[in-house]
Amino acid sequence: MDNLGELLHGFTIAITVPHLALMVVGVLLGILVGVLPGLGAPNGVSLLLPLTFGMQPVSAIILLSSMYWGALFGGSVTSILFNIPGEPSSVATTFDGYPMARDGRPTTALATAFGSAAFGALIGVILITFLASWVAQVALAFGPPEYFAVYFLAFASFVGMGGAAPIKTVVALAIGFAIAAIGIDTVSGSVRLTMGIDELVKGVNFVVAVMGLFGIGELLVAVEEEFHARAVSSKIEWREVFRAIGRLPRHSVALLRSAAIGCWMGITPGGPTAASFMSYGIARRFSRRGRYFGTGEVEGIISPETADHAAGTSALLPMLSLGIPGSATAAVMMGGLMIWGLNPGPMLFVDSKDFVWGLIASMYVGNIVAVVLVLLTVPVFAALMRIPFVIIAPLIVIICVVGAYSVSNSYLDVVMMLGFGIVGYLFKKLFYPLAPLVLAIVIGDKAEDAFRQSMLMSKGSLGIFFANKLVTCLIVGGIALLLLPLVLQLARLRRKPAPSANETDPEKVII
């Protein structure tokens, strides 16, 4: 097998002392931002981004991706021990994780969560190993129309499957596109949408948006409800860890199902948050013990955790092979790729083999490092949660301010970051999804370029998007996804008397 040979080569890159050290640093920083409310994986990764400019791309991506794994794990720690989701994607873990921990089984809850998370991540990486290069090979034949169609499909799937109110998703996407268009137009060189502010010619950097939307926005949401970290014991009993992990295979159906849901949601950008909620909902419906969910069921922890990590990992597949990130954090990493001078997309598998396979190999190693480190450091980070929020909050504000400033040494960026903070708060409060907004800011330009190049090829005829089978399928699939919410609503109106009470508040799904 070609891929296995490449993977082995990747391991020789990933398993070196400096790279292992970077993994440890990345994972620890990741757990830190995952644990702290108000800091999450997207803005954690973007904070670290300016510091990677001097590094080799492989080392830089290993650092950033390890941070991502760490953040995914860290979010579950606070969900289980404090009932406070450190990450939006670990909200579903609180439903059964916290009750189990409160009942005096915190170690079981944590070990179950980490074990199933590692399983989900493993499935995601295996998928990437075998599928990514194949997808890239197919994508090598893509022209601008096919690319636009893939972008269209990606954005449409947010609307159809993201779980948020569809029109709110559309508005969030369109705002992202408009923000991406600010500054110099890459095709014609003309200046667009500067709103009379000359400094906006350089455009709006996505890091600034992420800092505000996720950093300040989340902080404002968190400060609203003055939470007291009422922790259950955070001591880890090692024998129970192995016992809990040993019991996991009994739930192999739930594991496999959740991993499949996660991978699907990660590749078609639905994101880890939607994946974990969907997986939890499906598990509750199909599990034999479904009615005990919410009281500390093992499968209630396994399902969201496995899906969360499977989605988080497989979100890198479309990023690497197509240049379309599958989650907000993947979008930030892709922004990094472009800054390091790499061109995300199929050519990556031809031009920078070392980078791609080094990253994939590091995902195997990084997740193992993450599981070990997170288990070892649970007490430390749990102690961190006891620092009063009034002290942490101003520090996070300063971190976001400095982070936004250091992107391009511009004061305007800081002011914009604060503005994005208000928008982020309003959007979170009213369940507008943030991930599509960030995604559109990062790849809006590329989608527009693809569209305009296709139009040049066809001399202005939209018929080019139906010129061959592949592109027609993609476009039709996209349109179908766009119309999906409408169809569902119509179907619901038909069998009207259905009471809506038994549905898990659909608005909760996005956050």
Binding site: A178, A393, V414, F427
Partner: protein, 160 residues
Amino acid sequence: MISRRALELATAILTGSFGVAVVVQSLDNGIGWSSAGVDSGTFPFLTGIIIVLGSLYNLVRGVVPAATLANVPIAITSIELRRLAGLFVPAAIFVAAIPLLGMYLASALYVFAVLALPRHQSVPRALAMAAATALALYVVFERMFQVSLPHGALAAAFGF
């Protein structure tokens, strides 16, 4: 106290006016088809239209509350509003003070103010934390990563 409806309306108006601004601005760049292909204003123009239409839809949904909206009549209570202001107002003052005071002085004052003024911490402890914050910023950015943070007009006046 802010109702969910008011918040929905305000947000829809905010996004809608952004959409209008985008539409108006993109008209300057030209929309439609020219000899050079699709004009550079076309794509933003279309997104602007989508934003405006979507915002209008959300606006109407906000005015005519559906079942889900009726469940949460109050989005932000007055206590929550005070907490929000307690975080945001000092942060905004901090950002506003950066051009004058510079990042180091502004962040130290900010930390000191939010910790000592509401009496969360004693004055000496707040002072210590403020100093530690500024020092940590200096060491990490100016020294380790050689990113120069703004020193401020005040420092410039004193000749730093």
